[in-house]
């Protein structure tokens, strides 16, 4: 049993990658550490459970990475996806530290695998966890336990006692009552608020009812809210998040990776009125993957349909839910209660606009439409081989970007701009510092590991002083 009456050097709230990296780092720096994971043991680790890879800069190819990925290139990629909405000093600091993190997580028991299947073209930039995110978490938890980090599951934090930027204690739900836990420092690594539909509605309105949450139902943002209410400076646009188009048949929460679709380039996407609304051939994976969530969120009833034909049926990753099949476009429309005449017209107009080219889905090829609005600028091929198929898709929210502002030491900044006395943040709860918008695969894990390690180290040092 964990002795909750003692005062810990470092209290870590959260149980995912960032939290565990912070806990291990603090413990290795000599601090006594308590980790409060709000979820039961099986669901420990927040969204890290569903991740698979991490983006780190490296100067040369390694056993697991096919080529160099320099700091500069990483920085340019980040600028591209965020369209400049990032804190340059923090982002560059993170990228520099990411080089060292590749090896550091291995020292904590995490294992990498060579990119075998090639489901994403990330073999050069991203390292893949052997066995996936939950395997990574299992390794981190084993290491933390071995080092003597105390861990509590089902540990819901009800309140934080913060006095003028100084963390004093946290109130923890214990059965019907509550217990106060004291610590010299706080590391908040409790994720975003994507599982809090009511909170999402403040920014998205009723549309948020139609969002599916890809990860843990435990990321309700309660710690984030407490911190913001107690004087911590807010960062990020509350409507910005990592959102992809996932299968509409997915569970409301925790459907994870297997509900994704990467078939957009092989067909067209229509809304509930049977009309196309965006260029399906705009960009290559993974950027195209990360934009469709927001696009679908902007459509009526937040639903869309990826329509394709038999000629491409086996061209993309197998899916958990099979596509709906029909022998004609009209029949397909009927299965989704779409207007058959409109959908037929949409497909016919699209087919008529397709210009011949050489198809190659790995590059921006020359298969495109002419005279169509919106155009399909690459990978456009006629949809004319029955049977016809469609996947219904909805916005799948991975995590939100609204968070707590931090500095390079992962120390939270207060509303007056002053650094907090003893409070640090890592992971999704501060991702908005780096990610103002957009997403690049694996960067959530980079933020978590890099700032987690920094936060733990700084907290331990803070506790000793």
């Amino acid at each position: 049993m964990v002795d909750l009456s003692r005062k810990f050097d470092c209290l870590v709230i959260g149980g995912g990658n960032a939290a565990l990296c912070a806990a291990i780092s603090a413990r290795r720096s000599g601090a006594s550490v308590l980790v409060l994971e709000g979820a039961p043991k099986f669901y420990r680790g927040g969204n890290t459970r569903h991740t698979r890879n991490m983006r780190c800069a490296h100067d040369a190819a390694t056993d697991i990475l096919t080529g160099p990925y320099t700091e500069q290139e990483f920085w340019e990629d980040l600028q591209l996806v965020t369209e400049g909405q990032t804190d340059e000093e923090l982002a560059r600091h993170m990228i520099r530290e990411s080089k060292d993190i590749l090896g550091w997580v291995v020292e904590q028991g995490v294992r990498w695998q060579p990119s075998l299947g090639g489901t994403l073209s990330l073999g050069r930039t991203n390292s893949f966890f052997l066995g996936g995110g939950r395997a990574m978490l299992n390794a981190l938890y084993l290491t933390a336990e071995r080092l003597g980090v105390d861990i509590l599951y089902d540990a819901e934090v009800l309140d934080l006692d913060i006095d003028n930027g100084m963390f004093l204690s946290a109130d923890l739900k214990q059965g019907d009552g509550r217990v106060t836990v004291r610590a010299a420092t706080l590391v908040a690594a409790a994720g975003g608020f994507e599982a809090n539909i009511e909170w999402l509605k403040q920014y998205w309105g009723e549309a948020a009812d139609n969002f599916l949450i890809r990860g843990t139902p435990y990321n309700r943002g309660s710690i984030l809210k407490m911190l913001l209410n107690k004087g911590v400076q807010q960062v990020g646009d509350p409507t910005q998040c990592h959102a992809v188009a996932i299968d509409a048949r997915a569970p409301k929460f925790d459907g994870g990776i297997i509900t994704r679709h990467d078939s957009v380039v092989f067909g067209i996407v229509v809304n509930k009125h049977g009309l196309r609304f965006y260029d399906e051939g705009e960009d290559i994976w993974p950027k195209r993957y990360a934009i469709w969530g927001r696009l679908v969120a902007a459509q009526p009833d937040q639903i869309a349909y990826i329509v394709f034909d038999a000629s491409v049926r086996n061209s993309f990753m197998p899916t958990l839910f099979p596509p709906i099949e029909a022998n004609s476009i009209a029949e397909l429309a009927g299965k989704f209660e779409l207007d058959a005449a409109v959908l037929e017209k949409t497909v016919a107009e699209f087919n008529a606009a397709v210009r011949p080219g050489t198809f190659d889905h790995t590059i921006l090829d020359d298969c495109r439409t002419e005279g169509l609005t919106p155009p399909k600028t690459h990978w456009a091929r006629k949809i004319e081989t029955p049977p016809y198929y469609a996947y219904p898709v909805r916005p799948g929210i991975t995590f939100t970007y609204l968070g707590t502002r931090v500095n390079k030491q992962a120390r939270m900044l207060m509303k007056d701009g002053k650094p907090a006395a003893n409070m640090f943040a890592a992971g999704e709860i501060m991702a908005g510092n780096v990610l103002g918008k957009g997403y690049a695969a694996g960067i959530g894990m980079t933020i978590g590991s890099v700032f987690g390690r920094i936060a733990g180290r700084e907290a331990a040092q803070n506790a000793r002083n």
Partner: protein
């Protein structure tokens, strides 16, 4: 649609796994799955026999129970595997032996031992049965060598024929062309994978057994069991060669090759099965095919008893206990031989064939 409910479930899981693929680095099952988009009964039986039940994919899976997707690959494939063995059994009439395997094996073992004891008693007088026999040919005072050789040769031959017929059925089920047999690099690869238990290590850290902490204990005990068995088998082969080639008769002195091999093997075959049994009892129930627990335990127990009676015979062969111990040992070994095609023993054979197929698929994919 699939032939059985468990294959339906295996198909559902492989569909989930194929749209995730996080486990592709853990063992051979997932890369084999990734080569396909839909799964026939034979494909699923192939995956089932390729699975070493290391449990890593269960512990690493974000969708394992209590998640609503309820993904439990090791257990599902364990059930499918056992059902496939019954389906491949030859002759078909004996397929039922897999259903109540623990009971069947113990009855057959008891009857075999009893038959040897009664046989010895009926064919020899009391002085011979309980007498002290030493020196070359001592065992044959109780049972003539030719009778022993004929009986065990026949039992072994029968087991071999039944196993070959079973493998043939597996072969057809997985749709593997006969080409596997004439593909030495694939055979060699499978041999290395099997003898090293490459896929019983959860992708490098060890097998998952009672909790999420991986360990190498199952692998170590399996090695002791397998190599113990191999050494004992080698001892028997050397002894047979001694007898027929250089007319050197058992029992042999302790320093002679058959005894040295048999003793080393016997030690492995005592520690290995005991360890495997201990690990099995500790194993997380979520990973265990409870219905076949009896089959696993029966086979482990038979191996243990083979070694135990053999070691006892070695230690006490110069005493009056030799006769009964010889009957006991021969009874256990005889029942082990004749039940081989109808119990857990077959897992090694089918897994090896599955590994050959996997090696061959990989080579063909690489264009070799």
């Amino acid at each position: 649609m699939h032939g059985t409910k468990i294959l339906e479930e295996a198909d559902r899981l492989m569909t989930v796994c194929n749209s995730c693929r996080y486990c592709e680095g853990l063992c051979a099952v997932f890369p084999a799955m990734e080569m396909r988009r839909s799964f026939s009964d034979g494909d699923l039986n192939y995956f089932a026999n390729l699975c070493h039940a290391c449990g890593a994919c269960y512990t690493d899976c974000q969708f394992s129970p209590p998640h609503e997707f309820n993904v439990n690959v090791p257990k599902t494939l364990a059930v499918a595997r056992a059902e496939s063995w019954a389906a491949y059994a030859w002759p078909r009439a004996f397929a039922g032996l897999f259903a109540r395997n623990g009971l069947a094996i113990s009855l057959i073992a008891a009857l075999s031992v009893a038959a040897f004891i009664f046989g010895f008693a009926a064919l020899n007088d009391r002085q011979v049965l309980f007498g002290i026999h030493t020196g070359p040919g001592a065992f044959y005072k109780l049972m003539p060598h030719n009778a022993m050789a004929a009986l065990f040769g026949a039992a072994l031959l029968y087991a071999l024929v039944a196993l070959v017929m079973g493998v043939r059925a597996f072969w057809r089920d997985i749709g593997e062309p006969i080409g596997m047999l004439v593909d030495p690099p694939s055979l060699w690869q499978a041999m290395k994978d099997a003898t090293q238990l490459r896929y019983l290590d959860g992708g490098g850290v060890g097998c998952v057994n009672e909790d999420e902490r991986p360990s190498d204990l199952r692998k170590i005990h399996h090695h002791l069991t397998f190599y113990g068995f191999a050494l004992c088998f080698a001892a028997t082969c050397v002894a047979t060669l001694y007898h027929y080639l250089i007319a050197r008769e058992a029992p042999y002195p302790w320093w002679d090759l058959p005894v040295v091999l048999g003793t080393l093997g016997g030690i492995g075959l005592l520690i290995g099965p005991a360890g495997l049994l201990a690990e099995k009892w500790k194993r997380d129930p979520a990973l265990v095919d409870q219905k076949r627990m009896g089959m696993d335990v029966a086979f482990i127990a038979m191996l243990f008893l083979t070694s135990l009676t053999g070691m006892a015979l070695l230690l006490l062969r110069d005493t009056a206990a030799m006769g009964p111990l010889l009957a006991l040992h021969l009874g256990v070994v005889f029942s082990l031989f004749i039940t081989m095609p109808y119990g857990k023993f077959v897992h090694g054979i089918y897994r090896f064939v599955a590994l050959v197929r996997y090696a061959r698929e990989r080579r063909m994919m690489a264009g070799v």
